[in-house]
């Protein structure tokens, strides 16, 4: 209570009324005022723990080798240098790996979003035989993901002559991402009012136009979530790429990063510089999709 009192003393009138409006429209789970300071401090601690290793990585990437390998860790670069970045980018054909990964990630996002949208559209808007059985067959695959199927997938890719091919990676990544994407999109597509679709169709729209012009634009949050998860999956995937890609020219970033660790020496500086570069695209994709993110998760079929 004392906290409220102080708040009211300090806050100008206009702000107080705005606060009151918020308080009335959305009473919090804790009440809007309770534990405010404690919550803020806890949030700071969580935030700090979450980003410390990453900030430390950024700091290390700007340190000369001497500072990285001392017995006393240097938290903030005292002699900042970009030599690690120069080295990371120029040696090991890092640029190539970066663009390989970009190609794979974007290809995977494209295929997953298109195919999952089509399938989710069928599940959300049509009645057909075995509909729920087919849907649950897709869902059941959530229980058998990535690492589990690596051996038979490897053999299949051998048979299809897709080893060492980025396209092969894209197809596998897309398949792995389809179940969850279809699951999420179906919930979202079903939420688009039927009347809208009917009037759209009366205007002469055909099936695909209903999807591209009506349902997809209304489902941007869910599509953003699917795109983000899929991009990240493809961008950071390690085991499958490690197993299927043999030639150095087709390596993706995670595999390339792994090669900074030598048998005898580890080039920590260039490794961290490369890691920072490798993290930037994930961050950018996250920040772009972040606004849509929470709505996407909450309106999907989970609840």
């Amino acid at each position: 209570m004392s906290l409220t009192f102080k708040d009211e003393l300090r806050a100008p009138t206009t702000r107080r009324t705005r606060r009151e409006r918020i308080r009335d429209s959305q009473p919090g789970l804790f009440g809007i005022r309770t534990w405010k300071k404690t919550r803020l401090i806890t949030a700071c601690i969580f935030g700090a723990i979450s980003v410390f290793p990453l900030l430390y990585m950024i700091s290390l990437s700007f340190q000369p080798t001497g500072d990285i390998l001392t017995s006393h860790p240097v938290l903030v670069p005292t002699r900042p240098t970009v030599i690690n970045y120069v080295q990371a980018w120029s040696e090991n054909s890092f640029g190539r790996y970066f663009f390989n990964s970009m190609e794979v990630a974007l290809g995977t996002v494209l295929i997953t979003v298109v195919l999952a949208s089509l399938a989710a559209f069928a599940f959300a808007r049509y009645n057909f035989r075995f509909k729920e059985i087919i849907f649950y067959a897709f869902l059941a695959a959530l229980a058998v993901p990535s690492v589990e199927l690596i051996i038979p997938q490897y053999l299949l890719v051998l048979k299809l002559h897709l080893t060492d091919s980025l396209f092969g990676l894209i197809l596998i990544y897309a398949s792995e991402n389809l179940p969850f994407s279809i699951f999420l999109l179906r919930g979202f597509f079903e939420a688009v009012p039927k009347e809208l679709e009917e009037s759209f169709r009366l205007d002469g729209a055909r099936t695909l136009r209903v999807l591209t012009r009506l349902i997809a634009p209304l489902s941007i949050p869910a599509l953003a979530v699917v795109a983000m998860f899929t991009f990240n999956f493809a961008w950071e995937e390690f085991v499958i790429a490690l197993t299927l890609i043999n030639s150095p020219t087709h390596r993706t970033l995670p595999i390339a990063l792994n090669f900074f660790i030598g048998e005898h020496t580890t080039q920590w500086g260039p490794l961290f510089a490369a890691s920072v570069i490798a993290t930037i695209p994930s961050l950018v994709v996250f920040l772009i999709s972040q606004r849509s993110f929470q709505r996407g998760v909450s309106l999907g079929g989970i609840r």
Partner: protein
């Protein structure tokens, strides 16, 4: 669901019987056509490999062309029970699951509870907590490998600071500390995912119910137990099932940090199976391990859903 499929023809097309039949066929085929591309990829790269996995596990299968692949029945499976190395791997996997899953969920729910209401910089804190999720496993593994390095690692420095003398723990070269680092990094990276799921769920808890409970004079803890938790139960179930599936196939962090060492003591089931397949080329044995895992994981998922559902009804 009402059938809403009314294929509109351009005005000029003749309304003949043949085209009407064609239209009807198209209307029936539409959902299947929409499904076809996704189903094709799914059948080829997920469904077929699942069956192929079981298939291989009954042979002494060789990757090299021209070598005979004799049918060996259940012998790969019976070998699982006679293999002492797999006991360590199974124990490590189980321990990993039992430790990381509840802690991730607990911290995730706690953080979501903290950040569900309006507060200064709420969006910023939410983004920070989610960032480890989008950071690549390889990157995360190396930062932690550096932090837990025996010479000049931050972890040892901090401990030295508190201990008052220099401490040299070779974290990744010992069984227990190696496992502990693997747990820690998995929890650190995983919390954000549960967090975002719980955040979405808490958003949907009807606030008037919570307020009503509070007006009735119920304590915060009781409000949570009787109003909030029952409301987010489906999400708790979903998160639990997905995390258990994920934990049961822990791989990348172990593979990079310890490669299962020292002497296989931090090995998990999938690092072990992977090694069997791609180092020793015992594809069939690895396939048998993976098949058993698949059955166990699917069984576990069904069991969890069943138990949590029945708890719902009571």
């Amino acid at each position: 669901m009402a059938s809403v499929v009314l294929e509109q023809r351009p005005a000029g097309s003749p309304p003949g019987a043949a085209s009407r039949r064609g239209r009807r066929a198209l209307r029936i085929a539409t959902p299947y056509l929409l499904l076809a591309p996704a189903a094709f990829l799914f059948l080829l790269f997920i469904a077929y490999p699942i069956f192929r996995q079981f298939d291989i596990s009954f042979y002494d299968w060789h990757i090299f062309p021209g070598v005979a692949n004799p049918f060996v029945g259940w012998s790969n499976y019976s070998h699982i029970f006679r293999d002492p190395a797999i006991r360590t791997a199974a124990w490590n996997t189980l321990l990993f699951l039992v430790i990381t899953v509840p802690i991730q969920m607990g911290i995730g729910l706690f953080a979501a509870a903290i950040l569900t209401d309006r507060m200064p910089g709420r969006g910023f804190w939410r983004a920070l907590i989610f960032i480890p999720v989008i950071t690549s496993w390889v990157v995360v593994a190396y930062i932690f490998a550096y932090i837990f390095a025996d010479q000049g690692g931050v972890a040892n420095s901090v401990i030295s600071l508190f201990a008052g003398h220099t401490v040299h723990i070779d974290w990744l070269a010992q069984t227990w500390t190696g496992n502990a680092v693997i747990w820690l990094i998995s929890i650190w990276k995983g919390v954000g995912w549960s967090f975002i799921m719980f955040l979405a769920a808490l958003d949907g808890v009807p606030r008037d119910l919570v307020e009503a409970g509070r007006v009735d004079g119920a304590k915060e803890v009781r409000v949570w137990r009787h109003v909030v938790i029952p409301n987010i139960r489906p999400t708790i179930m979903f998160v639990l099932v997905i995390l258990v599936i994920g934990a049961s196939q822990v791989f990348t962090q172990v593979f990079i940090l310890t490669s299962g060492g020292p002497y296989g003591s931090t090995e998990t089931l999938f690092t072990y199976a992977y090694q069997q397949a791609f180092t020793f080329f015992s594809f069939s044995y690895a396939a048998a391990i993976a098949s058993v895992m698949a059955i166990v994981v699917v069984g576990l998922s069904i069991l969890q859903i069943h138990v949590l559902r029945s708890g719902d009804r009571s």
